[in-house]
């Protein structure tokens, strides 16, 4: 193809400097791709006018109601004709990557080739903020073809609109000693059993799941997802004396205090004289030198991960692993950003049964959301409106003090049936 390049003085500026330049990439594509020539024309115009020129619309693939982000240009001449006609349609296909974003070189090439072959622009984002591979720039007429090709390769569209969205899980078990469960399996269990809600958007608004293997939360799940599944453990932190001594050998007593002990949010970890005595119940004790040891009061540890992070391998998550589940994280519309809050303090995540339970819970939460949220209301907003307790009751989840930072500070509640509620607690305690 031979459409000449537009002048792009602004974009050209972004070819300087050491960081990889997307502009250089666009230009390379534009050499043999008219769509890209015109895309650059429109983008350069935006840089000059400081205005965006896209509008949405309706484009999709057979059988699905979402997954494609349609873009039509609004940059038109006096006659209403697009100024950059080849890029007048510039849709994105959101494609779900393998959980954990693992690729082979072959897979990358196949995806990229398929994109070009089916009429795509050649531009791909690895990845969008929700975790999709974003194939950016295709005309309406080619959308089905491209999708079919990807689908044949074993790939499927992700979410868009008022739907279940593409999910993300951390590298986790694949390469991280902090991992407390099989994140990829959890993601695939939950997402792949609920694809109908992804492909045929009919929820009140979007719903996102994210999966992090431990409370470091490398997926920002608590902030960015309606339901966050975070790995954790119930028993004591494990310690490896050899690695602990190695770590200390490379550091000092001051480092131990300033970098480890003093940063513990609950003062659960203490530097002690190495007295050789056995550790008390619930206490992890590890010598870091002949003189000193560290003692962790695991009942007071809040699994913040800090000491494990600073002393990798020397301290490791316990063996009784599972997940904490938080619900209601979301962006700033319209009540202000909100983090997810704890609804399941702990749940095992090992056996097939455990994953089945996670799947059931996810489904129940989706159902509750579908039935109870107002239009364009996220889960966090719904909970804010109806109250956490009503949400929990709707899902038959038992309340727990781990769900709160502190009990209420105001007397604005009606407690006719205090005694019955108290009885429930005593019964649970007795049963436990």
């Amino acid at each position: 193809m031979a459409k000449p390049m537009h002048e792009t003085p602004n974009l050209d500026e972004l070819e300087t400097g050491p960081w990889p330049s997307f502009v250089t990439g666009l230009k390379r594509l534009a050499k043999d791709n008219d769509m890209m020539v015109d895309l650059m024309g429109q983008l350069e115009t935006s840089y000059q006018t400081k205005f965006g020129y896209w509008k949405g619309g309706t484009v999709g693939v057979v059988g699905y109601g979402g997954g494609v982000i349609p873009r039509f240009t609004e940059l038109k001449d006096a006659d209403g004709k697009p100024k950059f006609p080849e890029a007048a349609e510039f849709h994105t296909l959101r494609i779900q990557p393998p959980a954990g974003m693992h690729y082979t070189s072959d897979l990358l090439r196949q995806l990229s080739d398929a994109w070009l072959e089916t009429g795509g622009s050649g531009l791909i984002a690895f990845h969008g903020q929700s975790g999709d591979i974003m194939f950016q720039g295709i005309k309406t007429e080619n959308v089905q073809k491209a999708f079919d090709k990807f689908n044949e390769m074993g790939f499927d569209l992700g979410g868009a609109g008022p739907a279940l969205r593409t999910s993300m899980s951390c590298v986790g078990a694949a390469r991280c000693e902090m991992s407390c469960y099989d994140e990829a399996r959890a993601l695939r269990t939950v997402i792949n059993n609920n694809l109908d809600d992804m492909h045929r958007p009919s929820l009140p608004y979007k719903f996102k799941f994210k999966f992090s293997g431990c409370p470091n939360d490398c997926m920002n799940a608590i902030q960015r997802s309606d339901m966050a599944t975070i790995g954790t453990w119930r028993d004591s932190i494990r310690a490896d004396e050899k690695l602990a001594r190695d770590w200390y050998a490379a550091h000092s007593i001051e480092d131990t205090i300033n970098m480890v002990v003093n940063h513990c949010p609950t003062k659960a970890i203490q530097l002690k004289k190495n007295d050789g005595a056995v550790a008390a119940e619930g206490v992890t004790k590890v010598a870091i030198s002949d003189d000193h040891c560290l003692e962790i009061d695991n009942h007071n540890c809040v699994r913040c991960m800090h000491c494990l992070n600073v002393m990798p391998g020397a301290l490791l998550p316990g063996k009784d692993k599972g997940v904490t589940i938080l619900v209601g994280g979301k962006g700033v519309l319209k009540i202000g950003a909100s983090m997810g809050t704890v609804v399941i303090p702990f749940m095992k995540m090992e056996s097939d049964d455990d994953f089945e339970k996670l799947n059931d819970l996810s489904r129940s939460i989706l159902d509750f959301f579908a039935e109870n949220a107002l239009e364009h209301e996220r889960t966090g907003e719904m909970i804010e409106r109806i109250g956490l307790v009503n949400f929990l009751e709707g899902l038959d989840i038992e309340i727990d003090p781990s769900m709160i930072v502190h009990p209420r500070t105001n007397p604005y509640f009606r407690s006719d049936d205090w005694d019955e509620e108290a009885e429930k607690w005593f019964e649970r305690k007795a049963a436990a």
Binding site: R234, T266, V342, E384, L388, R408, P411, W418, D419, E423
Partner: protein, 357 residues
């Protein structure tokens, strides 16, 4: 009324200097040291070496003429005729001669005034009016306090708590007693019963409607008369409508219960000031001695005493061990009512994976 001979002088708050012990007046603003020689006794030293011992004793706050005379006499006998009251209705006598401390303690103790309430003891309970004087009380304050202080007597005269313990008792949710380490507040559990015959005459209806924090009150015509109507589903039984509209009777012998709140803290020491938090409710309003209240208060104090570290106030202790452990150690039930559903309640939810197991 007899003929008035006096013309009002709007004198305001009196100057304390004429009533202040000379050693305090002379060293005003010049103190440099204090210590706690023993429970109920404070020692202060001034720049110039001047010394003063303070002996502190509990009173019943609502005092009769004769009790007052007794307290005045003790001041004359031991303390140069000076005394002061603390913000918690304790009395303080200042002496400049250490040899007077013990005789003074004896006189007070013999007179029925417990010496204590200093430092890391349980001080007198800040309290309110109750049936003695208020127009909206759900219980009696002086009585509940007397009953409870009888039980806490030992903790008042000894200093065995991790840090100071400040209690309060209030006879309605308005809570004139204030935030405290342990606050005991009566709580209504049923919506007001409306005497529709009286509303039209007694209540300013628009302002009553405006008072309700959950907008549960609507104007209504009842039996042809203008009255008010309460949406009982919405009503949170706060009682705010009762003072401006007494025909909306909120008090009910059966359905007024005590609630107990812990961890309020007003000082800026260590952490910022914080509000107290609900821990127990549904406790019967059981005069004359409210034993169920004392029981729970003692349980909480016992757990704090056993587990708190030196200088940890109630809130500091709970911050360290966590709320699940608080409910564990006190055996108090955790209910859905502990989870805040009032405005801004979201900020009290656990938006983190920080959990103790």
């Amino acid at each position: 009324m007899a003929e008035r001979t006096h013309e009002t002088i709007e004198s305001g708050a009196p100057d304390p200097m004429p009533y202040m012990h000379p050693v305090m007046k002379d060293n005003y603003g010049k103190w440099v040291f204090h210590s706690h020689p023993k429970p109920g006794v404070l020692y202060h030293r001034a720049e110039n070496g001047a010394e003063v011992w303070t002996v502190k004793a509990g009173t019943q706050r609502q005092m009769d003429h004769y009790t007052i005379l007794k307290l005045a006499d003790i001041a004359d006998q031991f303390a140069d005729g000076y005394l002061r009251f603390t913000t918690r209705a304790n009395i303080e006598y200042m002496v400049t001669d250490s040899s007077k401390v013990e005789p003074l303690i004896k006189a007070l103790t013999d007179g029925g005034f417990p010496v204590g309430g200093t430092a890391n003891s349980v001080s007198m309970i800040a309290h309110t009016q109750g049936w003695l004087h208020c127009d909206i009380p759900g219980t009696d304050a002086s009585g509940a306090v007397k009953a409870l202080m009888d039980e806490l007597y030992d903790e008042f005269i000894k200093c065995e708590m991790p840090n100071r313990v400040k209690l309060s008792t209030s006879c309605c949710e308005i809570n004139c007693g204030g935030q405290a380490d342990i606050a005991i507040v009566i709580q209504h559990t049923k919506p007001p019963k409306i005497n529709h015959d009286l509303v039209a005459n007694v209540c300013e209806r628009p302002s009553v409607v405006a008072r309700c924090p959950v907008a549960a009150i609507r104007p209504a015509l009842v039996n042809g008369k203008p009255s008010l109507e309460v949406d009982e589903k919405k009503c949170i039984c706060c009682g705010a409508c009762f003072p401006p509209c007494p025909p909306m009777q909120i008090n009910d012998p059966e359905f007024s219960k005590f609630a107990i709140w812990v961890g309020g803290k007003n000082s800026n020491a260590r952490s910022r000031p914080t509000f107290h938090k609900l821990v127990a409710s549904g406790i019967p309003n059981n005069p004359p001695r409210w034993p169920e209240v004392s029981e729970i208060v003692k349980t909480i104090l016992g757990a704090y005493k056993a587990d708190g570290r030196p200088w940890e106030r109630m809130n500091d202790w709970i911050d360290r061990i966590g709320w699940p452990a608080f409910f564990e150690k006190t055996g108090l039930p955790f209910t859905k009512y502990h989870i805040d559903n009032w405005r801004g309640g979201r900020s009290s939810l656990n938006a983190s994976a920080h959990i103790r197991f």
